[in-house]
């Protein structure tokens, strides 16, 4: 093939081939009008048109993969509601948690519950910490004192996860409050738990604000108005506290020595409550804790 040089530029020349094609090629010292044979033709990347499409698809796929990774690996386990934990002291609180036990939402289910969580920042905290904090707050605010009961129920569509959670809550609560409160991981539906399918009930009995105990447990919580509001419980509690006063002191006096009893008590209760709370309480009328327990239960019923 011969090429006729039509135009020269410093870097290239325009050639005309015998087929009538005009093309650009390296200007190897060409002059217009010359006929040449060996040329270095311009390679223009026409395939470009196709490549960006493939690249775009690849980029999209990569972005989607990243998104999936972030979503399923991080967002979903950490930020998607996976179950709810319902804590009932007297204030009732509902916790929505992710699979990794991150608390996503905290709702008061009654007026006391709202009060309990008002001003509490749960963001980014785990179920364990929030539970502990809430119980601490309940103690400080006087909702919860020694011998009272806390019931915790857990609901999730994942039965295995639910069981693990229950186990986790149980051990945590026992470790931290086993000696002070009675914990029920409830399996029965409580009246007001409407949207929870299979609640587990933990009742942690707490000795109501008897002057002696309250002084030791909760300092500022003593405002009577507050304590009166929660349901009818308080009337009964009031009665109890009188009872507690008498024996309570002695009970607490012997606390150190009686540590064995205390260790046993909660166990008994945990086994029993499924059958009947009141029975167990009646049998163990000796200790103050039990008494208050029975009171609480009866109130709830």
């Amino acid at each position: 093939m011969k090429y006729l040089i039509m135009e020269t530029h410093p870097a290239y020349a325009v050639l005309l081939d015998e087929n009538g094609r005009f093309l650009k090629a390296a200007n190897l010292n060409y002059h217009v009008g010359e006929t040449v044979q060996d040329i270095i033709e311009l390679k223009s990347l026409d395939k470009q048109a196709r490549r960006p499409l493939i690249r775009q698809v690849m980029a999209m796929a990569a972005a989607a993969a990243c998104f999936c990774l972030v979503f399923f690996g991080y967002y979903q386990p950490n930020y998607m509601a996976y179950g709810t934990i319902f804590i009932r002291i007297n204030p009732e609180v509902e916790m929505t948690v992710s699979r990794t036990e991150r608390v996503l939402e905290l709702d008061g289910r009654n007026a006391d519950g709202d009060q309990l969580i008002s001003g509490y920042d749960y963001s980014g905290k785990s179920r364990e910490i929030v539970t502990r904090d809430l119980i601490q707050r309940a103690m400080e605010m006087g909702y919860l004192s020694n011998g009272d009961s806390v019931s915790i129920s857990i609901d999730s569509s994942d039965a295995e996860w639910k069981q693990n959670e229950e186990e986790g809550v149980r051990t945590q609560m026992e470790e931290e409050y086993g000696t002070q409160v009675v914990i029920y991981i409830g399996k029965e539906v409580q009246e007001d738990q409407t949207n929870v399918e299979e609640p587990i009930q933990i009742v942690i009995p707490v000795v109501p604000e008897s002057p002696g105990n309250a002084a030791s447990e909760a300092s500022e919580a003593q405002t009577p108005s507050e304590s009166q509001t929660p349901l009818e419980t308080d009337k009964a509690d009031g009665g109890d506290s009188g009872y507690d006063d008498e024996h309570g002191d002695s009970g607490y006096g012997g606390e150190d020595g009686d540590s064995d009893d205390r260790g046993e008590d909660p166990d008994d209760e945990e086994n029993d409550p499924d059958d009947e709370d009141s029975d167990s309480d009646d049998e163990e009328n000796d200790s103050d804790d039990e008494d208050s327990d029975s009171d609480d239960d009866s109130d709830e019923d």
Binding site: A11, Y12, F22, K24, A26, L28, H31, G33, I40
Partner: protein, 245 residues
């Protein structure tokens, strides 16, 4: 000059893509860069690498044409293009290694090159005259094209690259060539009779519009006076073209 920000360089490159003047200016501006890249790639020093520098300039131009913003900084991109082109060139040269240079000295004789003792295959004078004549013709052609607002560079950019498009354009040209009256009308009016050509050749009007500059150039070449160019285009008219002989 070389410290111009990447932004400015890219802007210039894009301007150079659009206009051949801008491309020539850009190449002139970056001659130092091109030369140094050519030297780095070839390992030769000034004076002995004319071809390499031509190729490097061409590679730079090619880089300008093919550069896209997504491909990173322009200068490294151009440097790579230059290196690749020069390596390609050396590879091609290597194939001809066994061919003796015309400038090789003949063994035993000093200062006598092979070229000197070979008989002249062409009449130098005649060749020079032919070149002069074709140059004149081409310049005339260029002038006439310029009247249409078209340069040879434009034509080259506008030339159909795909085989099918090229064949379609060829059909238009074949039809026009057999219709002298139409060609004359075209030269006089300066407008491409798209409708008529489309009907006569069966080529889609869109294709003709897209390659209007190219068609104008070739049709002009078929008008009177361009004997040498027409002679060069001997392949056109020999039935189906498009493939290399």
């Amino acid at each position: 000059m070389m410290t111009a920000s990447e932004h400015e360089i890219v802007a210039k490159v894009y301007a150079a893509k659009a206009a051949s003047d801008a491309a020539d200016a850009l190449i002139r501006q970056y001659m130092g860069f091109i030369r140094s890249e050519a030297m780095r790639a070839s390992g030769k020093y000034k004076g002995e690498n004319e071809d390499e520098i031509s190729i490097a300039m061409f590679a730079f131009y090619e880089a300008v044409i093919n550069y896209e913003k997504g491909r990173g900084a322009f200068l490294p991109y151009a440097a790579r293009a230059i290196r690749n082109r020069i390596i390609d060139y050396y590879r091609k040269e290597k194939r001809h290694e066994h061919v003796d240079s015309l400038h090789a000295f003949i063994s035993g004789e000093d200062n006598t090159e092979l070229l000197d003792i070979l008989p002249d295959q062409k009449n130098q004078m005649e060749a020079y005259e032919i070149r002069e004549a074709s140059q004149k013709e081409i310049l005339e052609f260029e002038k006439q094209l310029a009247a249409f607002g078209i340069s040879f560079s434009d034509v080259a950019d506008n030339c159909p690259r795909q085989k099918r498009t090229f064949a379609a354009c060829r059909k238009v040209l074949d039809y026009a060539r057999g219709n002298q009256e139409l060609l004359e009308r075209f030269v006089l009016s300066g407008r491409l009779p798209v409708n008529e050509l489309s009907q006569g050749s069966g080529t889609d009007k869109k294709i003709m519009e897209r390659h209007r500059k190219y068609l104008v150039a070739i049709l002009l070449a078929f008008t009177n006076g361009y004997e040498i160019i027409r002679g060069h285009l001997c392949q056109i008219g020999k039935g189906k073209g498009g493939d290399r002989p």
